[in-house]
Every structure is written in structure tokens, then in C-alpha cells.
Point group: C2
Chain length 422, copies 2
């Protein structure tokens, strides 16, 4: 893209990460959630961090403006964790705001201006009724040509899903298998909003029907359950309820430091090996709905900077705001060839015990999707997996190279990061 391979002026390391519980918390604001995430991050730093030593904050947030009537959130969250008078900057690129905050923190340390930077994301969504949340999220579409024509995000991603089906022969069951896998992972994540597998959900509904003496549904497996329009209604065909990530309140934080001081904070620091970001035209302008230019651009930049290729990556957290999004993501990232992601998912390659585990956290689908925080939530999972602290969902191999992929809207923005030890 650029005349030379992108390169950072100095190395940056990840030395801490933590998140709030993701879910619906009627009594909490985005600033409360941020404080919760901050404390979790502080606890994660092996050798401790004094708040006074943090030099700047970058906070990702999609729209506290629309969700809470609160703009200028950055200095407020800075104040609530004790950072005043340090610089506090909000970055916004819709649902990739968290990933972009991470990137800006990395760039700031690489510039030499800071050595210790807090990056985070926060979003409080559940205080609005569901239909207003959908409208609010639609503000991230191109409102002149998409939102104003009645498109909301389930519809936009449904268009991508039908294009993918038409081009590659995937079926709705393939989308469902993404959700089944991610809920299976999320069931093992105590901070996930929906920490239940689809099988558990199905079984508990069967149990309930039995207890109430109602007709017991004849679901033989999760696919039967997900094809039942009463249990899993269509939102925008082919996207059903369980193809959509939930509406979530949550926050996440990560601590970045210059590589040369990383050992002062962490026994075994994780290096930021690559960062990439790209943009794309709004969906209505694109020639091909089955791939996102911003994601391919961001991935190429990150791989080049890290000097690695897709096959080197051990695990990845990717942006599964809808099940179709995960399939597009793992093709854009080069993990699978175009049109092969649904077959790979069906074959179990992306499961926790597969060759390329994707969204071991449960992904946005099961862990939850507090939009501005999701990009940093992904980092929290990478942090745990790389340190073998992921408990029941720990992958059974050494993770020395991991990736996050965070998308804004239908891909107007994508940001990719590569984490490693070498």
C-alpha cells in the first residue's frame, strides 16, 4: 500500500490486560464499567503498576453520545481511574474503536513520546430499548445511503451472507456452526455474557417444557434447535437470532509499555509484532460483498510488519458480530482460501482443539459485544491464552503467535494486531 513496509520506531510490549464482566448492568454507566476493567488490568500486571506512572490514555468508544448522552468520555474515564492531568483521547471507528485505541497506544509509544500507555474501550448499550439500540448502531452505516433506506446491521450482514451463499454454496447450517462453536467456547468463559453452549440452552428448554408438562420439542441436535423459528427467530434472513451478537455493556483495558522496560512490569512480556489498519467504501458501494478490503489491507500490513504469514498464527480472536462475519474474517486474514472458511468450520478446524482455533473466548457472539470495548476484549483473551491462564478454555498448544481482528460497521474500518514472543 505504502512506498515502504510500515515499521514502528521502537518496540512495544503488552504487560497487562483485564475486562469487566460483559452483560447487561442496569446500574452501571460506561465509566463504572471502565473502572472495573481498569482494576482487572492492574491485578494482571505481574510486578504491579502505579496509576501515577501511566502517561496517557486512549479509549475506544462507539457512541456514549447516543447511548448515554455523554460526549467527551475520555477525560471522564481518565478522572475516574485517577489519571488527570494526563492526556486522554477517545478514538472512534464504530465497533473497531477498541482495536484502534490499541493501535494508537502502540503508535504513541513507538513515537517516543510516552513509555507507558493505558488503552481501553467501554460501551454501555442496554439502557436503550432493543429497537433503539439497533437504530443507534445503524448510525455506523453510511446513513445517507444505507441507514436512511431502512438498512440496519442485521440486514447489512444478511446481504453479505446471501452473497456468500450464492458465490460459494454455503448454507444456513454453516452459519449456525460458527455460533455453536463460539457458544461452546464462551460457556467456559466466566466473564462472557452468554456463557452457555447452544446444547446447554437447548437441553434447558427441553427440561423446562417437561417440567411445565408442555409438548417436548423434537430437537435431536443443536442444528434442529437453531432451525426452529420459535427458538431461533429470523432477524434478517439468513441471519437468525443466534447468528447475531448480543447487546452488551462492558469495558476492557490493556497496558502497553516500551519494550525496553517491559521486564519491569511483566515476567514474560508479550511483544506487539504487527499492527495494521485499513478502510473500505460503505457496503452499498462495493463490488463484492464476500470480502472486506479494509481487512485484507490491515492484515497485510500487520503480517509484513511482524514478518509472519497467516499459517504461522496459532490462535485468533476475530470480529464475529454476526456468524457470517467470522467466515469472511478468516478468509480475509488468509487462514483459509476464499470460499473455504465454511468448510473448515464444518470440519472443526476452527474449534478449540482444531488446527486454527478461532474465538476461544466465545467471540462477540457468546462473550458479548459492547461495541467500543470489543477490540480490547479480544486482547484480554490473547493475554490469557498466551500466559496459559485461560482455564477450562485454554488451548492445548503453546501460543507464541496470536492475532486480533476488529471490524468497524460492515468493514469501513478494520484493524489487525499480531502478538508474539520470540
Amino acid at each position: 500500500m505504502s512506498p515502504r513496509a510500515p515499521k514502528l520506531g521502537r518496540g512495544v510490549a503488552l504487560v497487562g490486560a483485564g475486562m469487566s464482566r460483559f452483560g447487561a448492568f442496569p446500574d452501571k454507566t460506561s465509566r463504572d464499567l471502565f473502572v472495573e476493567a481498569f482494576h482487572a488490568m492492574v491485578k494482571s500486571v505481574d510486578k504491579g503498576i502505579e496509576t501515577g506512572d501511566i502517561q496517557a490514555l486512549y479509549v475506544g468508544n462507539f457512541s456514549s453520545d447516543l447511548f448515554e448522552g455523554q460526549g467527551h468520555i475520555a477525560p471522564i474515564v481518565a478522572d475516574w481511574v485517577g489519571l488527570v492531568p494526563k492526556p486522554a483521547t477517545r478514538v472512534e471507528d464504530a465497533c473497531s474503536s477498541g482495536g484502534v485505541a490499541l493501535r494508537e497506544g502502540i503508535i504513541a509509544i513507538a513515537s517516543g513520546i510516552y513509555d507507558i500507555v493505558l488503552v481501553g474501550g467501554t460501551e454501555k448499550m442496554t439502557n436503550l430499548p432493543t429497537e433503539r439500540v439497533t437504530d443507534t448502531l445503524a448510525a455506523a452505516s453510511d446513513t445517507l445511503y444505507e441507514g436512511s433506506c431502512g438498512f440496519t446491521f442485521p440486514g447489512l450482514y444478511a446481504a453479505m451472507a446471501t452473497a456468500y451463499m450464492a458465490k460459494y454454496g454455503a448454507s444456513v447450517e454453516h452459519f449456525m456452526k460458527v455460533g455453536i462453536k463460539n457458544h461452546r467456547n464462551g460457556a467456559l468463559n466466566p466473564k462472557a455474557q452468554f456463557n452457555k453452549s447452544i446444547r446447554d440452552l437447548m437441553d434447558s428448554r427441553i427440561e423446562k417444557a417437561k417440567q411445565k408438562g408442555e409438548a417436548v420439542p423434537d430437537w435431536r441436535n443443536e442444528i434442529d434447535f437453531l432451525k426452529d423459528s420459535k427458538a431461533n427467530p429470523i432477524v434478517a434472513w439468513p441471519m437468525r437470532l443466534f447468528d447475531c451478537s448480543p447487546i452488551t455493556d462492558g469495558a476492557a483495558c490493556a497496558l502497553l509499555v516500551a519494550e525496553d522496560i517491559a521486564k519491569d512490569f511483566c515476567h514474560d512480556p508479550i511483544q506487539i509484532l504487527g499492527t495494521g489498519q485499513g478502510s473500505d467504501h460503505a457496503l452499498h458501494e462495493r463490488q463484492d460483498l464476500t470480502t472486506i478490503l479494509a481487512a485484507r489491507t490491515a492484515a497485510r500490513e500487520a503480517y509484513d510488519m511482524a514478518g509472519v504469514e497467516p499459517e504461522d498464527i496459532a490462535i485468533a480472536e476475530v470480529h464475529d458480530c454476526f456468524t457470517i462475519a467470522e467466515l469472511v474474517a478468516i478468509e480475509d486474514l488468509g487462514f483459509f482460501k476464499p470460499g473455504e472458511a465454511y468448510k473448515a468450520t464444518e470440519a472443526g478446524l476452527t474449534a478449540r482443539d482444531g488446527s486454527k482455533p478461532i474465538n476461544t473466548s466465545g467471540g462477540l457472539k457468546s462473550k458479548g459485544h459492547p461495541v467500543g470495548a470489543s477490540g480490547i476484549g479480544q486482547v484480554v483473551e490473547i493475554w490469557h491464552q498466551m500466559r496459559k491462564e485461560a482455564g477450562a478454555r485454554q488451548v492445548q498448544k503453546d501460543v507464541n503467535l496470536a492475532l486480533t481482528h476488529n471490524v468497524g460497521a460492515t468493514g469501513g474500518t478494520c484493524v489487525v494486531h499480531i502478538f508474539g514472543r520470540r
Copy 2:
């Protein structure tokens, strides 16, 4: 603040700057205004710039979410000026969003990741009725403790103004003199929203009264005019209408490049010598309403990085969202001692022909205040003055060291930049 003086990894230069006309444009969106500013910037680059050579965009915007129902504005404006698939990031720190975009662009080049970065700001405000604009801007206050208690920005700045009067003995006339000076400058700025001096406004009203055969007001001078509550109603005492910056649509752009390639774009590039940013508690939490910690912090960082002191600065564009704000600004910047700014203004020191010209563009007061764009609008004035291209408002001395000071809300954020040639 930090254990070592902040320093950028490599030099950054300003090689172009341009703005849209500031005003009320019912037929234009924030993206249209951005395109207008972009074209003005392109024209300003001595040796030209190819859009394809620009590697990234940082755009300041307070709340296209609330003003236009449009979030995720960064990739949209990137698309409209032909930058896809380059990274496009929105930064938001209320009315300092533009200044923070400038800072992030500088940091990005200093990091080594990019060589050529577009920074800009855009805001479309006038499509909402005035009272809704006031409410929308109040979202930049701490809405739990200020906005929700009925405070809007004229009231918040009125509290600062009364505190300043009580502490230092300033009168309402001193505030008025700031407005008179800034309108005098803005009258000479063809891109200003109100390019009329207070004297011109007064004279034209007298003329109108005469033509209509109405009673001719007995205003002997501008102060008489400004003290007339019919001509200049009280908004929140002691802030009257002409103490408040207007509601404005507008955009501005600047082009930054690595110092070592600056001569490829510009005959006589302007160096970024210093950048500083700070945060402060919300107004309701502060001990002293007559000074802003974020501004003092940002100024100190910028001066230290540039290796200069306040007395070295030839001209400055400061954040005069209200007249009181300019007095606080020029004290926080160290141009005048605490409690001396109003006397200096009265003595003409801050006038275009004074020893320390402030807001030669007309400032936010007269040029207009499209909130997310204002910080870059300030850069456009510095660009013109340093190149002796400011026409009728050109200061009559060489400007080799200039400063911008951009405030978010009541000072939750402040960002300061120092521009120079040496």
C-alpha cells in the same frame, strides 16, 4: 509530569493547510465540508500532493452522531476524498477534537509508521435548532453532575467568568473588549462566519434604524452597543450573546509529513516544534475556576519539547469559545500573569498590532466554531501568518514561532502546539 521530557522520535513538518468557509450551510453535510477543506489544503501545497501518496487520516469530530445521526465518520470522509483503503481514524475530545487529530497525526509520523498524514476536522451543527445545539453541546459536560443539573456551556463559562471577576476585579467590559478585538480581526478574514467588526454591526443597525425612521440608539461606541440588552442580550450573566462563539458548519485540513521529506512538498516548511496535551477534572470538581490544569499541563509539555518559553511566541490562536475563555487561555499559556490578561487586552497588547497578537483569524468568536474542526482551523491561520499570506490581517512582524491552544468542553482536555522555523 513524566519522568523525562517528552520527545518525538523524528521531526514532523506542516506543508499545507486549508479550510472551508465557516458559516451556516443548509445544503451541506460534514462530509461535503470536509471535501471543501481538503481541496483548499491541496491547493496550498507548494509542490502539490497526490491523494494516493497520503498514508493515513485522522479526523477530529465532536459528534456527527448527535448532530447528523452519523457515527463512524472517518472512513466516510476518507472515501469522499479518495483515501480508501488507507487507515482513517476519528478522534474525539469535544471541542479540542481537531487539535487532538493534529497531535495524533504528528505522533503517527514520529512513530515511523507513516511519512505523509492528513489531519482534519469537520462539524455540521446548524441543521438542529439552536436550543437543541445547546443541549447537544452540553453532552460534552459531565452529564451526571453538570448537564443533568441544567448546566449548559454558557452557564459553565459564566461560572468561570464570575469567578474571574471576583478574584481579579475584571468587569463585563473587559470580556467585551475580547470580542471587539476578535471581530475586528475576523472582519478581515474572508472565510470567517461573522466577518464584520462590532463597530460595523453597530453602524449598520444605526443606519437601519434611520432608514426605517425608528428611534436611533444612542450608542457612542462598541461598549455602549454591547451593554444594550436588546442589541446584545444576556445569555448567562455575565456572558452576553457577543461573548459567545456562534453555531457553525465547517471543516479544515492540514498536511503533515516527515521532516526529511518536507522540501519535496513545500518551499519553506513549518516545523512542529512542540505538542502537548492534558486533561482536567470536570468543572464541578475543581478548586479554582479561573485556570485550567489541562491547559497548563499541555503548554508546559509543548514548551519543553520546543525548548522555548511563552515570551518567545510571536502569535497564538487560542480557544475563545467564550470571551472569558481567551483571558483564561492567555494566562494558562504564560503570556500574562494570572489576573493580568484582562488588563493586557484593555491595553491592546493582544491586538493585531500589539506585542502578543491573539486570534488574528477572528478566533472562534468571529471566525466561527464548528467544534470538531476548530483546532485545525487554528492551524490554517498559523499557516497563513507564517507564510505572510494572511492578506489584510497579516501581522507586521516575522512570525517564526507560533502557537495553537485548543480546549475541549470546560477544559477536560487541552492540546497545545508550537510551530516554527529555525
